[in-house]
């Protein structure tokens, strides 16, 4: 992406061609984008709504229609604006894709866990791999995302809600552990969601001695590896370049993983 010094990489304005209301707080936006082979699940784009610009996972990678999609959960001014005000025919602007996605070649059976809107990060996996089992977790049934999309793909999907309004009652980490106990064919666990979840999944991977890859969420400014905003302790790795998906070996050196993050000023904020 960044190899050519002299390519402009300013945000490219796109027109929304479709929106999908996933839940009362989550919406997917589809727009035209040239889908090349180097665009992978787990990568992200910077989304500019002409007021602010934030990182969003690519949740739809449609090579046939040359379409891309992002899935947004209302969490503050930026995501609220997208959810409430952006509709088919409206414009946003995109730069990217950036970062490294999941690298799942050579794995036999993959357990992918998505928590809340973090599920976006793994949503397009089934278009790339056919050996993925999914856990989709949310606080309640209303907040489950992509379950239909996963089912359409004939993937094994496990539903899990905090309140038991649908599927397994409890945390996705509990469900994941049960699956791992039952089936020793899983050789990697991957996923994205609240860091408290991914950290517990990481601990599971240690406990069951299998590989893992998790997408981390850090405050981003440049997305292109120079501002230093998203660097992780202790290695200084950049979430926007070396991440957002990190593997087990990398995660083992990320001392802040599961503990704290930094705000826009670079000050530490504990989880």
């Amino acid at each position: 992406m960044l190899s050519n010094v002299y390519d402009d990489e300013v945000p490219e304005v796109v027109t929304i061609t479709e929106t999908i209301t996933e839940t009362p707080t989550v919406k997917t936006f589809i727009f035209p984008w040239k889908i090349t082979d180097d665009i992978k699940p787990g990568q992200f784009v910077m989304v500019w709504d002409f007021k602010n610009e934030k990182p969003m996972t690519i949740s739809v990678i449609d090579k046939q229609k040359n379409q891309m999609g992002i899935t947004v959960r209302k969490a503050g001014p930026f995501t609220d604006n997208l959810y409430e005000n952006i509709d088919v025919g409206d414009q946003i602007a995109i730069r990217g894709p950036y970062g490294n996605g999941y690298d799942l070649k050579g794995y036999n059976k993959i357990l992918a866990v998505g928590g809340g809107s973090g599920t976006a990060s793994i949503a397009s996996l089934s278009d790339f791999y056919d050996n993925v089992n999914l856990i989709s977790a949310a606080s309640c049934e209303d907040e489950l995302v992509f379950t239909q999309r996963f089912k359409d793909k004939n993937e094994e999907v496990y539903i899990c809600t905090d309140d038991g309004s649908c599927g397994f009652k409890g945390f996705s980490t509990q469900l994941a552990e049960e699956l791992l106990k039952e089936d020793d064919e899983y050789d990697i666990i991957i996923g994205c969601g609240p860091e408290i979840m991914t950290y517990k999944l990481y601990e599971l991977a240690l406990k069951y001695d299998i590989d893992c890859q998790f997408a981390l969420d850090r405050y981003m400014k440049c997305g292109i590896g120079i501002c230093g905003q998203c660097c992780m302790d202790e290695t200084g790795e950049r979430v926007c370049v070396e991440g957002p998906v990190f593997n087990k070996q990398q995660l083992s050196h990320l001392t802040e993983f599961g503990k704290y993050r930094r705000d826009a000023s670079g000050s530490i904020v504990k989880f």
């Binding site: 960044l2 300013v10 400014k221 290695t235």
Partner: protein, 305 residues
Amino acid sequence: MLENEVMGMKVENPLFLAAGILGTTASSMRMVVKNGAGGIVTKSFSIEANDGYENPTIVKIEGGVINSVGLASPGVEAKREELKELTPIRSKTPVVASIYGNTADVFIDVAKKTQDYVDAFELNVSCPHAKCGYGSNIGEDPDLTYEIVKSVKDEIDNVPIIVKLTPNVTDITEIAVASQKAKADGLTLINSVGPGLRIDYKTGRPILNNKFGGIAGPMIKPIALKCVYQTYEKVDIPIMGVGGIKTYKDALEFLYAGASLLQIGTSIMYDGPGIFKTITDDLKNFLVENEYDSIKDIIGLSHRI
């Protein structure tokens, strides 16, 4: 071959990390050192924490980047903790703290709170997109620059004071001379250029949230070289050259023009932090092939031929 001692700082190679790039946390700065940097300049900080401008703040454009980060930084207390963590690396790789403020007192306060953990201060009086009073308005005015530098020098006497200047003035050597008069120990040339503006061609909207942003990267090199060359002829204090260095050839140009030390910022975007090792290796080879004994032989060479 590449070793030198400048302003009391011993370096194994002349390539420092430039202020504002990967310089927020101790971890990221250590990572850059691991990748071969000869020294570090931190991201600029001041007393209070500052979120900077809203995104988009940094966008890659043809020839470099345009940025209006707006001096985002944790306050001095948090930064001191990060600086403390850098103590182990300071024996081999000097750590320069870039600090900013709107008055001499702020600079002095920040410097006093951190002076035990740094090898030099770089006074950032030249940010082209700082909020009112904190940026290049100081560095555009020789008298104001003199005032600030002199006040800081009067209070801080055990750590070298480097002044970082903006090229966005009619004559940079005026400000350089004022800094030297105020007893600055060195100069860093240059901060980002412009500011510049980029507009989305479809909608007409300025791309940066702050509209204007400093320009950095390969495209500013000829401007930076001119500033270094002209300033070298007017002052006796050492110059750190910065602006668009991407290969050893760029580094050579800055050394010839008169820079004793160099800084690299934007090019990390293209080549990753590994750029430090690549350039030092290439520089060494060049010196050997051309039968120079030391990098010192070529500093200011253009002025001697």
